[in-house]
Every structure is written in C-alpha cells, then in structure tokens.
C-alpha cells in the first residue's frame, strides 16, 4: 500500500513555498485557515494574508480586486461555500472579467464525513464547470495537488482546485509531470476505460487490478483537469476500448460523467456507466462508511464495469 498523504497540508505548504518565490502571491481565507491549511502561508507572510472572516462573497470580491491590480490571489474555504455561498460573485466578479483568481477549496465531496449534508459539496463541479473561462482541477493525490497549485500560480486566469478532507494514498511518484488539460494514463488497457477524478482514482486502480485477475483489461485515466477536458483522451478511450465508466465524488449530474457523456455522444458513442451520487443528499458518517453507502468504492466501480461490459457490443 502506498503512503497516505494529506492534500490540504500539501496545498498549504506548496502555497508557502510559492509565496517565497513570488511576492505577488496573496492569500485569502474565510475563517477556515486551520482547515484549509492556508495558515502555513499566513504565519510566514502575515502582510500578504487576509482573513476575511465568515464572509465568502466579500472574500471573492476582494480577491477579484487584488487580481485586477496585478496580484495572484489564492482564496480558500470549504467547497460548499465557494461556489455555494457566492456563486454570483464568482460569476460576475471573477469569471466574466476573467480575473486571475485561484479558488482552492477543501472538504469537497461526501468524504468530509461526519459534518453531514450541509457540509458535503456534491454540486460544486457542476456550478463552477458551467462558468466560461474557468479551469477546474480535481487532484488525485498530494503530489498532483502540489503540481496543480503550481500550475495555477503560473497560468493566468480563473482556477478552481477542489481538494478533499481525508488523506489519500499516493498514486503518483515525485517524478510525476502534470500536464494541464491532459488526462494521465494510470494504467493501459484494452477492454474498458475507467475515467476517474480525485479520491476515485485510487479506487479505480484497485478495481482495475481486481478485474485484471478476472481477465478484464481496464484502462484507467485520471481526468484531473475537468475543464478544459481532454476530449482527445476520451475519444481515444471510446474508440479503443468501446466502453467507459466514470467515477467521481459528485452528483451524477453536471460533473465528470456528464462531460464524458457529451464528448462521446458527439464523437464516438459507446456504452457508459456513471459511478457518482444519484440525485440525492448524503448524511453523516465516517468517510469510508459514506463512500461505501453511496457506492463510491472499488466495488462500486467493479460492478459498473461489469454492467458496461455486458452492454458492449
């Protein structure tokens, strides 16, 4: 089993490193810096850190003003609050003018756990994904988190990076070369493709291994850049493997599954199955228990692979 590392802590530390390299990086938080881990930056650069209090709309607006004035603001809170609490601010103050604001949110999905429904962000990718000009990234582990945050700092334009609360097993080595907008092939395969994001990538690898023992050769793609999505990799997977399963910690509607469905429908229709939350809200529980209850596990992916294979011509 690979090492288990916190994505949030990596974010906080990478941000502090970036702060040393680039004086224009400023950080905002909304009274959650101990959870989002922006406190690493705050303690090193107090003059460039703005805790906006529990006022997410204002935080996003201030970030926009800083970006308009040449700064590279990173604004963090929980994924439920950005975009949930301030969608119109993200839309008009950031997306429409195309300002260089980096929204890095934590506690995405249901793996936030015991805090329950109000704290579980399962609609955020649909909301942010709808905004023209946004780049949306859901890293699969700590290494990719570091690379994604660095990519956001060096590219101009609005970014949304969604991290989860739990520590996750590393799926990448230190030599990983992250390419923005490109899917990473985690495992080659010919019979079916599993396209996963975030916490579901390691589950996809686990499922692929099990299925491999039973003679099903799965390709696994990590689609960490959800927007702009790597259409080429999806079309290639559809053409070469003839069936696709998507896996994400988000509602079935409006996230990775919808994107993949749109791309395949247009270019290369193939049977699809979606491992995602089905039009419902989850509840309190331990992260592992919740993921199991809602089918966001290797077993859930395995079952989806079987049913998509049955539909494959």
């Amino acid at each position: 089993m690979s090492e288990i590392v916190s994505l949030r802590e990596t974010y906080g530390k990478t941000l502090a490193e970036l702060g040393r390299e680039n004086p224009d990086i400023v950080v905002l938080d909304a009274d959650l810096s101990k959870s989002t881990m922006t406190h690493f930056f705050a303690s090193e650069f107090p003059g460039r850190f703005f805790d906006c209090g529990i006022a997410e709309q204002n935080m996003v607006g201030i970030a926009a003003g800083l970006a308009a004035s040449g700064k590279t603001p990173f604004a963090s809170t929980f994924a439920v609050f950005v975009p949930g609490r301030c969608f119109d601010q993200v839309r008009m103050s950031v997306a429409q003018p195309g300002f260089n604001v980096k929204l890095v949110v934590t506690h995405g999905g249901i793996s936030v756990g015991e805090d329950g429904t109000s704290h579980q962000s399962i609609e955020d990718l649909a909301l942010i994904g709808a905004l023209p000009g946004f780049t949306v990234i859901v890293p699969a582990d700590a290494v990719e988190t570091d690379r994604a945050v660095r990519a956001a700092a060096s590219c101009c334009g609005p970014f949304y990076i969604r991290l989860g609360r739990p520590k996750l097993p590393l799926v990448f080595g230190e030599d990983y070369h992250f390419r923005l907008g490109k899917a990473a092939t985690m495992k080659p395969g010919q019979d079916v493709t599993i396209i996963a994001i975030g916490i579901m990538v390691s589950a996809a690898l686990e499922a692929a291994e099990k299925l491999g023992h039973q003679g099903i050769d799965c390709r696994v793609l990590n689609m960490s850049t959800l927007k702009p999505i790597d259409e080429e990799a999806i079309i290639k997977a559809a053409r070469e493997t003839g069936a696709i399963v998507t896996a994400e910690e988000h509602l079935e509607h409006g996230g990775l599954g919808s994107e993949v469905a749109q791309v395949t429908a247009k270019h290369q229709p193939v049977p699809l199955e979606f491992v995602a939350i089905k039009d419902t809200y989850a509840r309190s529980g331990k992260d592992g228990e919740l993921l199991k209850k809602y089918g966001l596990t290797a077993d859930g992916i395995e079952a989806a692979v079987r049913s998509v294979m049955a539909r494959k011509k």
Binding site: C52, N58, V60, G65, A67, A68, K71, Q89, G98
Partner: protein, 250 residues
C-alpha cells in the same frame, strides 16, 4: 444615449452626474490615453446600471470617441448595457449584479497598499444597493483592514427599483450605520459641485479608516418629468421625451 438605445436606466444615471463629473474632471488622477497607467486613481462603478453616465464621462475625457456613445446597448458595440471591463478602456470593473463593487474596491485598495502605491480608490454605490449584505461585509472588512485609500460614495437618491428606500427596505439611520462600521462619514448635497469637491478634499487627509461620502441626490435630476419618478429608474424616454429632456438639460 438611452433614448437612442430604447432601454436603460436614466434616473440613477442623472442623479450621479455631478458626482461623476467632479471625480473625472477635478478629483481623479488619470490619463485617458493611458487607461492602464499603474498610478491612476481608480473609479469603480458598483451600481452598474448607471453605465451610460460612466460612458459619457469617459468619452468626454477622451478614453474613446464621443460619437460611440450612441451605440449604447447595440449589437457589436463596446458599450454594454452594464459595464464590462474587458471591452472599454477606463472601465475598472464588470458590474450589473448589485452589491459587489465595494468588495472589489477593497481588494484594489489593499493591492495599492501592498505595492506602496499612492493611488486612491473611489467606488460609487446606489442607496438601494446597500440592501445587499455583501456591502456590509465589505464595509466591515475595509474598516478592519484600515484601508484609508478607499472612498465610497453613495448616490443617496432615496429611490430604488420598486419605490422609496424607506418603503422597500428602510436604510435609516444610514450615516450612523457607516459610522458604526468604522467609516469616516460625510454627508453632502450631491448636486453641489463645490461641496462635493470640498468633501473629496476633506477625506483625503483621513488616516487609518475608509471614508464614505453620502451624497444626497434627486433621482432623474435635471429633467422635470423624471425627477423623483420611480418609473424612470429603468425606462428609456421616448423621442418626444428625449427632446424635452435635452432642452431642459441645456
């Protein structure tokens, strides 16, 4: 402009004519031929529906040709119904959804301080706009961060879209609210250029806190049939009304 466009917001544009005129012709440090000049003072129009007023001021200053004003709201024109900062030189912020400009202005003011620049940031709000909670989040933050290079101006015309402020959502006691939020607060007659000038001058020396100028105004000012008429908040005058209005304004 609004008559030609056939739609728009004349009332809230007319109420702030003197405020915007004073800013662009006497208060702001700016270079119309160099709209991105880093040292420029910033003017942020938070009540984006007064876009025609800002466009007129920018054109008069030479940011773009005055003839272009008549393209307001037309397809392919840069002059969008509400301001879009990507399209027109001199427009600092995209606006239209009320309540967002003050937060943006706080960010611009903080950036100026971080960069040790001495530019000042001016932001114009509507009084109805102050119903929005975000305005007060930003007001609290500006005082907390002690941004003293920030001046908010409220076009206090007493009217919003559905009627008088006091009937829709009472703002009183308005000046006291700003004071309680930690702002240096000045009230003036918003149609008196000399008094506005004096207010802008006075707040220049305020240190350690943001300033707000509450400008008492009349919605639709200068056009008798528009003054204090809620119906002219968001309705364009017809051709006959345009002719009458222009005559009165001469």
């Amino acid at each position: 402009m609004i008559g030609e466009a056939g739609s728009g917001h004349p009332g809230g544009s007319l109420s702030a004519v003197e405020i915007v005129t004073d800013l662009y012709f006497r208060v702001l440090r700016h270079k119309p031929l160099d709209p991105c000049w880093p040292e420029r003072d910033r003017f942020i129009l938070s009540k984006g529906h007064a876009a025609p007023l800002l466009y007129a001021a920018l054109a008069e200053c030479g940011y773009f040709p005055v003839e272009e004003l008549l393209t307001l709201r037309k397809l392919e024109s840069r002059l969008q119904g509400h301001t879009d900062c990507r399209l027109i030189p001199g427009v600092e912020m995209t606006a239209g959804a009320l309540g967002q400009g003050l937060s943006f202005a706080v960010g611009v003011a903080l950036a100026g301080r971080l960069d040790s620049m001495d530019y000042r940031v001016y932001v114009l709000l509507g009084d109805g706009e102050c119903d929005e909670g975000q305005v007060w989040e930003a007001a609290m933050a500006a005082a907390h961060f002690k941004v003293d290079n920030l001046v908010a101006i409220v076009d206090n015309n007493g009217l919003q879209l559905d009627g008088w402020n006091r009937d829709i959502m009472n703002l009183a006691p308005f000046a006291e609210k700003w004071r309680a939020f930690g702002w240096h607060t000045v009230s003036v007659d918003g149609h008196d250029l000399a008094r506005l000038d004096a207010a802008f001058e006075q707040v220049r020396s305020v240190k350690g806190q943001p300033s707000v100028i509450i400008a008492r105004t009349v919605k639709g000012k200068g056009v008798s049939f528009m003054e204090n008429q809620v119906d002219f908040h968001g309705k364009a005058p017809n051709a006959a009304e345009v002719a009458m209005a222009l005559k009165e304004l001469e």
